[in-house]
Structure formats: structure tokens, C-alpha cells
Point group: C2
Chain length 462, copies 2
């Protein structure tokens, strides 16, 4: 009794840090599937992968150092006495990377980067201290064509986020705006030097309503009620995209920057139509301001139609100069970031994530110990034909083995005993329907593929 | 002049920490290709992905705490006062994970985990402080069938590591041994309690030669010259696999553990043959001992035939108890780890890594500004047919644009001006061969796929 206690005392409690989490197969399998599709989309536009270290010099991460506390950096002194930190986003490392390798990478340069970042924030519901970002950017060009491409990439990614099938997902909208329009409007009102507090107030429109926004614009930026209402009128423009753009065009006709912003959005809508995007996919939304200092042109946000409260799942925009802290070279660009964890929370809420804990569609129970080499032979043959197979490692009651497979979500089982081997057949069981058929060994792969195709949403290795 | 100096002074030098590195596209593209293939192999056997946090409680990482300095942990106190560290391998987090989630995951449990780990080692040639590990393990079973599967997974992965094509790579061998054989032999010699220093000496055989090993066995383990030579004779057994196994069988016939080790290796060789592996792929090699305390059964190492000096690129073995520090539950298992960075260094040395900085095979130069929507339409059409396309974002001299594409390794360019649009054709240029042909728009995808197939080693999105 006391020795057992002692043994218990010696064990280290297996636990993760607050704000951190493990991913079990049933969470990782759909994540990996969606990540692979996101990467496919990036690549299909010629975006290239890069990677950077998790640890950076603290001075790189802190930049001008003002908002370190906001970022809640994981920072420490390494054993060589260097002040280092774990990256809190992928933009700062990309800026450092671009400045450092500019001669090698050249411009225009299109990169994607899928990686974890860390922030020691207070953990609230659904907020983690370690999370994945999926960023893509085009730098070294001011062309609106790269804004178009950014919009198309966001569209193509979201069309493919339903992990249950390869069908096009359509229940989302991409909101477009341009900081040029907002800045142009403020310029006309003589408020351009107050743009930071005004846009900060505007960003709260959906949350706090018009009157509170007007009051805030007055208090923090000294905007008159008339000025504030004029901004809100522009920002709340309703109608079709064409109607909104025509209204803005009239409103901003003597302002070059604002007019340019309207033209940019028109170009994006035209090109998106040419590329085959549905007419209602893109929505001009003058109320989105997205942050305050960084973006200077087109702005993107995107929302799941059936879960708008989730907030934007993929956001970004155009900026004038990526890496000014690290190089004198001006690097304009445009890009966006997919919030994988938020997107996943949304898909889960909408019932789109199937619980499967398997990466294969076929299971071979270990039925007869003398046949183990035969099992390996059958499994290898199926794998050569692109069919994943899990073989149970040891003899056990058949029922228990099939239960193991079914629990994991594996659909088919191949039951083979010595009788079957003699006759050159196997028993192919559909664990989902309960059906079974005797199949000749040489026709096995074909039968499996046919059975899997008979269900529109096969699990596992789809 | 002085203001320019001031500006320079204000810039933060863009640099990475010692022992850390950036990956540019030409390094990342082949890495991502090979990682995707490795994952495909894991999945085809039913191994499932998991992920764990980069940061763990220090007590989890340090375990019994003895060898912290060896591991050269990145450790610090977080802002909540917790002692934490960055993982230095994927085995310790997996042990913690298994103990913590055992009820949910059940056994047998097969997982893979591809992730970065950190060690503050002194940086020597080719050694980094941040590197990628690719681990896979089967836990919860003592069955030799899982050893077989481990061998087959290593084989299937290495058969697919040539990033230049989908052809089977064959220039590698997998060395097999069993700690049961070594322990059995030491048992017969009455040296089993000296196994740690003896196997440590044996591990140096390839490096320091027989005489030095004999001397070390004598000095550190008190083995007589006769005993040491007897161990070396077993460890250096030459001949065919069958001859070596027969010799061992005779030598160890009265030792149950040793006999079991021989039987395990025979089972693996038989099953590998049944699964279609070439006869010379697996080599019984009694000289490999692989670490000292952890492994208890089959041991795997694997070598590139044309670059044996590189050392083992994928190694592993069977162990008796994965998570004894964290749970009373005994978790036997078997697994291996692919050293991706070492493998890559090898493939590079052997000239197998092509320098490509593109993820697409097709480039559309921006030839006529009035046609931008047309370019987006053509590109979108090709992408829907699975063909990746990079569109240059802005007007520039055609020659300069084609040079940009060629430098990145993009093979084909589609040149389209307003004349071509009127005629419903495009000019398809092969930047590698210099050839070009006029192709009807509706036959473009087909012509592209045919041209790409005409080269056995297309770059990019293969």
C-alpha cells in the first residue's frame, strides 16, 4: 500500500500549459485536410512557401518597441545571453525575411507561410496562446492586379473549406473596401489628420451603433455631428455593388485618392466576374476599416453566411511599405491571413466537421496468426493502388477488432481466413451499412473503390 | 549625408539567431513535396496525425532531470511564473500525450507527428538549433507485426524521396538488429549487467575499429579480451541474411531472449518479402545498438547507398514502456524517426534537389493592360482543370517578364495580345526548349498537359 503510494508520488502529472492544447487525431485529420487544400490554392496562383525560425531577436519582434505589452510576447534570455522572443505573428518575420533576402528573392515576390505563433494573452473562451496562422502576400508591386488575386485566393480557399466533400462551398461572402475611399472622404471633410480616432470609432459601428459612433467621433476627434453623420452615411452605403460604387464616385469626384479607391474596387469586381466568381460573392462594404495604421488601400474581410457572429475568417489588405524598420527599400504589397482556428470553430459550430479518427478506408483484422505474411501482401497490393489499409497488429476476437475499426470511422473491413486464401477470395464487409460480399482477390481493389464511391461522403483518406 | 546616416542608424539589422535559418522557396518547395509524400505513406498504413504544444512544463521535459544539460533545453519562466521549456524531441511530448489521453485514444494507437524541435547545441557544420522531426509510432502492442509495419513504412518513405519524379528510389538499405540478440549474447557471456558500457563501446565500432572497441570494453566494463572478441564476432557477422540468422540461432540456441530476437528478424524479412520489398533492401546488421536504455527489441537504421557516411536517415526501434514517468499503465511500442534535415543534406549532396522557386508550371505575362480581365479568366479556367498559373501583376517588357518566369523555373508561358484574343488563340511558349506553338483557347489545358508530360522531370507543381 505504501509502496504503491510512493510510486504514485513519483509520477509526473501529464498536463499541458494553460492556453495550450493537444490535437488528437479526430481534430487533426480534418485540419490537415483543410490545410492541404489551402496550400493547393496558394500554389495554384504561384505563391511559394517560406519558413522562418520560431525564435527571433527580441529587437526584431519588438520593432519600435511601443506595443510590447499588447503583444504579450513570450520572451527570454537564451543561454548565449541573447534577448529572444517567440514570434507573435507571421508579418514581422516576413518583413525581416524580405529585408534580409531581398537580393535573392527579387520582386514581385509571392509567399505563403503556414505556421504557429504565440501570444501570452489572457485565455478566454476559444482563445489560445498557441495558434496557427496561414498568411499569403505579394510584395514589390502596387498593381491592383495583385489585389484582384488576393480576393480570388480568399474566394478559392473558402470554396474548398467543407472537409466532408470536394463540392464547392458557397455559404460565405467577401467584403471589400478601400482605405483610399475612407481617407478620401475624410480629406473632403477636412478630417484627414484625425483619421486614426475616427476610423477607430467607425470600426465599432456594428457593435455600438450609429449614435455612439457619432458621439465618439466628436469626443476623440473633434468631429462635428454633421461631419460624423457624413462619414457614417458614406460608410453605411446600401444597395447593389454598382449602386454603392456610383454613389461613392459622385461623393468623391473631386478627390483623386477616393476616386482611385472606387476604381480599384471596380477592377476587382470585374476581374472576379471574369474569373467566374458568383455575382453575390463580393460585397462592397465601406464600413470595414481593419486596423488603423498599416493598411493603405484595398481591405478584405470574409464571413460565413450562416455564422456571421464568428467574425471575419480571412482578412487582409494592401499596405505601402512592409519592412521599413529593417530596410530603406520600399516594399509595397497586399495579402491576407486565414484564421484557421477561428474558421475551424465555425465549421464545427455548423456541423461540418466529421468525427473520424482514421486516415484509411480499409481495415484488415488479424484473423489467423499463420496468415500474417498474406495480410501484409494484400495490404501492400492495395496501397500500391492508392488504397490506404490499416492492419490490426495482433490476434484478438474478430468482433472486438471490427469494433475498433468502426469506432475509428474506418468504413470497410477485409476478412480473410485460410478457407478464403485457398479459394482466392476475401470477405469485404461494409461496416457502415452492415453489408458484405465475397470478392475475388484480383478484383479486390476495384470492389473497394466502387463501394467507397457509392457513398457521397466517405471518411478517411478522401 | 548626416541625415542619411541617421536613417541608417535607425534601421534594425534584419538577421536570424545563430543556429537558426530561414527557408527560401527553392529550399521549401522540395521539402514540402517530400513531407507530403512522407505523410501519404504514414496515412496509407493508418497512422494518424497528432499535434502537441511547442511549450511544455519544464518538469515534463526534464523527466527525471538527469540529462538536462545534454538536451540543452530552451527554458524560461513565463509571465505567469511557470517554469517552461521548448520541446527538444517529439518522444517526450508523445509520452506525456499518451499518458494524458489514454482513455480517449485507446490502444493500439498509431500516430505520426511532424514538427519542429529545439536544442541549444553548439552549432557545427550542418547542425541547427531548430530542426524538423518526423516521428511515427505504434503503441499498446508487443506484436512483431508492428515491427514489420515500421520496417515497411521506412521502406515506403525512402522509396519516394526522389523529389525529381514519382519513380521508385532504390539506392538505400535498411539495417535491422534486435536488442534481444545483443542482450542474449551478453547474457550467455555473463555480461548482461555490463550491457550499457559494452553497447556504448560497440556503437563506436564503425568509427574506431575493433581493437579500440575491445580495449574500451575491457576498461569500462571489465570484459576480458576473449569476451570482447566474442561480442565483436557476433556483432560483425557477415554473409547473407539467412546465413547470419542461422549463425546467430546456433550461437544463441540456449538463450530464450536471443532466440526470440532472431525469430523477430526472420518474421520481418518474410513479411517484407511478401509485401514486395526487393530481396537486398533489408540487411541484418548485428553491430547496430542505437542508444542504450530505451530500446529493448528490434532496431532500425537506414542508409543511402551512395552516401553511407551521412549516417542513418531514418532510425528507430521497439521499446517496453513509453510513458512510465507519467502513468502506471505500461505502454510498449515501436516506431522510428526520419531526420528530414539530414535526409535533405544527403539528397542535396547527391544532386537530387532541383533548384526551382515556383509552385506552378505555367506563367502568363502581363502583355496588354486592357486585357487584364481576360488574363484572370484564362488563368481561372486552367486552375479549374488543375493547372497552376502565375500571372505577372503589372505591365513590363515581355522579355523581362519571361526572364522572371524562367529564373524561377516556370516551364511554360502563355502570351496573349489583342490579336490573339480576336482569333481565340494563345501563343504557348516552352521556356525550357525555346519552342512555341499557337494553340486554340479551348484546347489550351490539353496542350499544356501534353507538353508537360513530354518532359520526364517537370518542375513545380508535379
Amino acid at each position: 500500500m505504501s509502496s504503491e503510494k510512493e510510486l504514485k508520488k513519483k509520477l509526473i502529472e501529464p498536463r499541458t500549459l494553460k492556453g495550450f492544447r493537444d490535437f488528437l487525431p479526430e481534430a487533426m485529420i480534418p485540419r490537415e485536410k483543410i490545410i492541404a487544400r489551402i496550400v493547393d490554392v496558394y500554389r495554384s496562383y504561384g505563391f511559394c512557401p517560406i519558413d522562418t525560425p520560431v525564435l527571433e531577436y527580441l529587437e526584431i519582434l519588438m520593432g519600435k518597441g511601443g506595443d510590447e505589452t499588447d503583444k504579450q510576447l513570450y520572451r527570454f534570455t537564451d543561454s548565449g545571453g541573447r534577448e529572444v522572443g517567440m514570434r507573435f505573428d507571421l508579418t514581422v518575420p516576413f518583413a525581416r525575411f524580405s529585408a534580409q533576402h531581398l537580393a535573392e528573392i527579387g520582386t514581385p515576390f509571392k509567399r505563403y507561410h503556414l505556421a504557429k505563433v504565440w501570444r501570452g494573452e489572457n485565455t478566454q473562451a476559444g482563445r489560445y496562446r498557441e495558434f496557427m496562422q496561414c498568411d499569403f502576400d505579394t510584395i514589390g508591386t502596387t498593381s491592383v492586379n495583385s489585389d484582384v488575386e488576393t480576393a480570388l485566393v480568399i474566394n478559392d480557399i473558402l470554396e474548398r473549406v467543407d472537409p466532408r466533400s470536394n463540392a464547392t462551398f458557397t455559404k460565405f461572402q467577401i467584403h471589400l473596401n478601400s482605405r483610399k475611399i475612407l481617407t478620401g472622404a475624410l480629406d473632403k471633410l477636412g478630417l484627414v489628420d484625425k483619421s486614426t480616432p475616427i476610423l477607430r470609432a467607425l470600426d465599432k459601428l456594428a457593435k455600438i451603433g450609429k449614435d455612439a459612433v457619432v458621439a465618439e467621433m466628436n469626443q476623440t476627434a473633434g468631429a462635428s455631428e454633421e461631419q460624423a453623420r457624413a462619414i457614417l452615411e458614406i460608410a453605411s452605403a446600401q444597395g447593389t455593388n454598382d449602386e454603392i460604387l456610383e454613389g461613392l464616385e459622385k461623393n468623391l469626384q473631386e478627390n483623386d485618392l477616393g476616386t482611385q479607391g472606387v476604381a480599384d474596387l471596380r477592377t476587382i469586381l470585374d476581374a472576379a466576374r471574369a474569373a467566374g466568381a458568383p455575382a453575390d460573392r463580393f460585397v462592397i462594404d465601406v464600413s470595414i476599416a481593419r486596423g488603423l495604421d498599416y493598411y493603405t488601400g484595398t481591405i478584405f474581410e470574409s464571413f460565413l453566411t450562416e455564422y456571421p457572429k464568428l467574425g471575419s475568417v480571412c482578412s487582409g489588405g494592401r499596405y505601402d511599405n512592409l519592412a521599413e524598420l529593417y530596410t530603406k527599400q520600399t516594399l509595397p504589397g497586399v495579402g491576407a491571413s486565414l484564421g484557421l482556428d477561428r474558421l475551424f470553430a465555425g465549421l464545427e459550430e455548423l456541423g461540418m466537421i466529421e468525427k473520424t479518427a482514421s486516415t484509411v478506408d480499409v481495415f484488415i483484422p488479424f484473423f489467423d496468426a499463420s496468415l500474417s505474411s498474406k495480410y501484409f501482401e494484400i495490404a501492400a497490393g492495395l496501397r500500391r493502388q492508392g488504397i490506404g489499409v490499416e492492419l490490426y497488429p495482433e490476434p484478438k476476437k474478430l468482433g472486438a477488432q471490427l469494433k475498433y475499426a468502426d469506432k475509428k470511422g474506418i468504413r470497410l473491413a477485409i476478412v480473410v481466413g485460410s478457407d478464403e486464401i485457398r479459394q482466392g477470395v476475401v470477405m469485404l464487409k461494409d461496416l457502415r451499412s452492415g453489408g458484405q460480399e465475397e470478392v475475388k482477390l484480383e478484383a479486390l481493389a476495384e470492389s473497394i473503390l466502387r463501394t467507397l464511391a457509392s457513398d457521397p461522403t466517405p471518411q478517411g483518406n478522401a
